[in-house]
């Protein structure tokens, strides 16, 4: 699987745990400082998980760019008219 190297730190996590924490980490949702530290330590030493994190980060940017929509001028005017009449 990966080339994860355990540096005999008790709190270090394996690849499966790192993958499990990956999205929450990238989304800024890992609340526990110990888990965050363990995850960061892991990707510093595991090339496979580091690359995975890079790809996921890039994919998120592309998803955001592809899916961002803009309300048309007509919809904006419709909503403002609606709110003016509340």
């Amino acid at each position: 699987m990966s080339e994860h190297k355990d540096n005999s730190v008790n709190s270090d996590i394996g690849c499966l745990q790192a993958i499990d924490a990956l999205y929450a980490y990238l989304d800024g949702e890992l609340d526990d400082p110990d888990t965050t530290a363990s995850f960061e330590r892991h990707i510093q030493h595991c090339r496979s998980c580091y690359s995975r994190a890079e790809v996921e980060s890039l994919l998120t940017k592309r998803v955001r760019a592809a899916a961002k929509s803009q309300a048309s001028a007509a919809l904006q005017a419709r909503l403002r008219h609606l709110m003016d009449n509340f």
Partner: protein
């Protein structure tokens, strides 16, 4: 209780800030721009009527997205061009986490090797379309979760409130939704001749 002038100002400003996001999410639910615009207008009207029930104004975003979603489910889903996934269940439980992690582990390496090739910079437009197509084909629960968090920037907590599920469910859906997204993109790349399937992965698909 009648809404005050201060309520009206807050509501209008919040809707102004949210118009693009509401339309973007509505479009991915309803499927057509016309239905999406009607859906947003209906949701805004309902939200104003229910504004007194919003106790904490800092929760306006999840609150308005929840109203949008409820509006879609009650009034629009029947005529939506999307298939109704009434039989769909969360499809993930704790007992499946190991399998999920294994899938991610295998698939991401393959996806990574393809994605990381420099010439894919030339395919940005195609990738944009491919990404939208892949998002549109995600099961509803995952599509909404990925959209609210990755596109509209809601926190997991806010997305949980908007979709009416526990925070842990959002976390699971993100993992599963992103895996399905990668899988769909990978499949599209193979079908379009942009990537070559690795036979070793053939038996690992669901």
């Amino acid at each position: 209780m009648a809404n005050t002038d201060s309520s009206r100002r807050f509501f209008s400003a919040s809707i102004e800030d949210s118009m693009d996001a509401l339309y973007g999410v509505a479009l991915r639910m309803a499927g057509t721009p016309a239905d999406a615009e009607d859906l947003v207008a209906d949701a805004v009207a309902k939200a104003w009527t229910a504004f007194a029930t919003l106790d904490d104004r800092s929760r306006f975003r999840p609150w308005i997205f929840r109203i949008l979603r409820n509006c879609f489910i009650s009034d629009y889903r029947k005529k939506s061009i999307r298939p109704v996934e009434s039989a769909y269940r969360e499809q993930i439980g704790d007992d499946e986490d190991d399998g999920l992690a294994a899938l991610l582990n295998q698939q991401s390496d393959e996806f990574l090797n393809w994605w990381a090739e420099p010439e894919h910079e030339f395919f940005n437009d195609i990738l944009g379309e491919a990404i939208m197509s892949a998002i549109d084909r995600l099961p509803d629960a995952f599509r909404m979760t990925v959209l609210l968090i990755n596109v509209e920037g809601l926190t997991y907590d806010e997305a949980a409130e908007a979709l009416g599920v526990p925070c842990g469910t959002i976390r699971s859906r993100m993992k599963r939704g992103r895996t399905l997204l990668q899988k769909a993109l990978w499949r599209q790349a193979i079908d379009a001749g942009l990537a070559i399937e690795d036979d070793r992965q053939g038996s690992t698909d669901e």
